[in-house]
Amino acid sequence: MTRNIWTFITCGLLFSAAAVHAQSADIIISKGTDKTTIDASPFGASDPAGRMFIQVLTADLVRSGWFARGAQGASEYILSGSAGGGGGFVAQCRVAARGRSGTVFDRSYRGDANEVRRLAHEAADDILKALTGRDGMASARIALVGTLSGHKELYMADADGQGLVQLTGHKSVSITPSWHPDGDRLYYTSYAKGFPAIYELNLRGGSIDRVANYAGLNTGGVVSPDGRWMAMILSRDGNPELYVRRMPNGDPVRLTSTRRSAEASPTWSPDSRQIAFVSDMSGRPQVYVVGREGGQPRRLTLRGSENVSPDWGPNGLIAYSSRIGGRYQVCVLDPRSGDVKQITAPDADYEDPSWAPDSRHIAATRSIAYRSSVYLLDTLGDPPVALIDQKGDWTAPAWSPGR
C-alpha cells in the first residue's frame, strides 16, 4: 500500500518533469495486477520428487504475476493430477475451471529424477499459455556475474534463482554476459588473457572461444535477435565506438565517430534493425539509437543526468537505469512514443536491467550499502523478489530468450 502511494507520487514528479522536456509521459500507476486464483491442493504427490514438482510449479505460477494460490472450493481454477518417481519421473497435470465440466489443460511430463525442476518450469509455462495465452519466463534461465569464488565469474541460474552453476573459471574479471538468440551461447567480456576481449561460451559443448581481440577495448558483444549481427564496443580506431560485425566473424564496421566521447552498452531492437546504446556525446551518459547501417544517432533519454545500461525487450520497450534523486532506478521507455515509466522505489540502487521473455518482468542488480544482489522486478507493480541467496555480490543479470 505504501508502495502504491509512493509510486503515485513519483509518477506525478515524472509527469511534470516530462512535460517540461516535452517528452510525453503516459505513466501507468503500479499497483500490481488482479490475480487469477488457482487451487493445487487436489494434486497428488507420491514422493519427495512429486512434492518438489508441485511446489516448484505453483511457485512459478505465482511468480508469473498472473496467479495467486486460491482456497479450496473458492478458486477459479483447480490443478489436479499426480507426480512421482519409481523408474523415471512422471507428472500428470490437469487444470479445470470451477463450475465447468472437463479440463482446460491436460498434459503429462516425463524425465529423469534430476529433471523434476525443469519439468515443473515447463509445466508452469504451458499452463500459463493455456489459461492466459501469455508467454512465461519459468523455463528461461538467467546468466549473471558472481563473486562467490573470489573472482568475478559467469554463473547461470533457473528463472527462480535455483540451480545456480558456475560457467567460467578464468580467475580473472569476467563480466557483461549476453545471450545468443539460440539460447545455447553466451557472450561476455573477460581479462582472462590480460586484455579485455569478447568471448563466446557454448553451453552445449562447454567450449570457450575468444571472438574479438583487437587492440584496446573489446566489450559489449551482443548478438541481434535474428542471429545475423553482433554489436560491440571497440577502441581499435583510437576511441571507444560502436561497431557491428556480421556473424560469426565479419570485419567490424564502425557506426559512430565521436572522437570526444565514449560509447557503451549496445542492445538490439526486436527487429534487428536498430541499436540502442549509451554515449556521453552530450556531456553526460545518455541512451541513443542508431540504425544497423549507421547514420545520425538519435537521443532517446531526454531527462536526468545519467541514463545507462539499456536493454531493448522483446516487447519493443527499453529498460534502463536512470540516476534519480542520487539513486539508480530502473525506468522503462517506449521509443515510439517517448513515454517513460519508473518501476523501482528509492529504497536501493537498481542497475543492469534485463527483460524477461514474458515481457512483464525485469531482472536487475539491486545494491544497498555497496552489496549487490539480483532481483526480479515487475513492471506491473508486484514487489521485487530476491533471486539469488548465495554469498558474495551478484550483478549484471541477463535473461535467456524464451523457448
Binding site: A197, R210, P240
Partner: protein
C-alpha cells in the same frame, strides 16, 4: 623541479641498465602468445619485438616508479599538473627504445560498469596520445581499461574516488 626530474631519470636509467645486464634470459610474457582457447578471431594484441631487453619482474619494478595520472570526475582530460609525470615516462621510453608501455585506465565506482570500461579506455588513450605527442612511437603504447574493476582505494567517498580515477603503467 628540473633537477629532480633529471635525478629520477638517472635513477630509472641506472635501474634499467642494471636489469638489462642481468635479466635478458627470461622470455617476457607480453605479446600475442599462443591462444589456448582456440578459435581466435581478430588481431592479436601486442606488437612483436618489444620487451626483449629486460625481464618482466624488472620491468614492473621500473614501471612502479611511474606515478599514476589522476583525472577529474567523468573526465579523460589530462590536467596540467600531471604533465611532468608523463614527460618522465616519455623520457624513459626514449632512453629504452626496446621497451613497450601499457597504459591502464581506471574509474571510480560511480556510473555503470560498462560506461566506465569506455571511460577508462578514453583515459588510457588520452595518456597514450599525450606520450605520442612527446615523441614516443605509437606502436610502443598499448591501452587497457579496467573500468571500475580494480580500485586502488576501497573507500566510498571522494578521497577514495579521486585515487581511483587514474591511469597506471606497466612495461613490456
Amino acid at each position: 623541479m628540473k633537477a629532480g626530474r633529471v635525478l629520477s631519470m638517472i635513477m630509472l636509467g641506472a635501474l634499467a641498465l642494471a636489469v638489462a645486464s642481468t635479466g635478458c634470459k627470461k622470455k617476457p610474457k607480453a605479446g600475442s602468445g599462443v591462444d589456448d582457447f582456440g578459435g581466435m578471431i581478430g588481431t592479436p594484441v601486442g606488437p612483436e619485438g618489444y620487451g626483449m631487453a629486460m625481464n618482466p619482474d624488472d620491468l614492473q619494478a621500473v614501471a612502479s616508479q611511474f606515478s599514476p595520472i589522476y583525472f577529474d570526475y567523468d573526465s579523460s582530460q589530462i590536467n596540467a599538473g600531471q604533465r611532468s609525470s608523463l614527460e618522465e615516462i616519455a623520457d624513459f621510453l626514449q632512453a629504452n627504445p626496446s621497451t613497450g608501455l601499457i597504459v591502464e585506465g581506471h574509474c571510480d565506482e560511480r556510473g555503470s560498469n560498462e560506461y566506465n570500461l569506455a571511460l577508462g579506455e578514453r583515459r588510457a588513450l588520452a595518456v597514450r596520445a599525450y606520450l605520442i605527442g612527446l615523441g614516443v612511437g605509437a606502436d610502443r603504447i598499448q591501452t587497457k581499461s579496467y573500468g571500475e574493476e580494480r580500485p586502488a582505494s576501497l573507500g566510498h567517498d571522494e578521497s577514495s574516488w579521486s585515487q581511483n580515477r587514474r591511469a597506471e603503467f606497466s612495461l613490456f
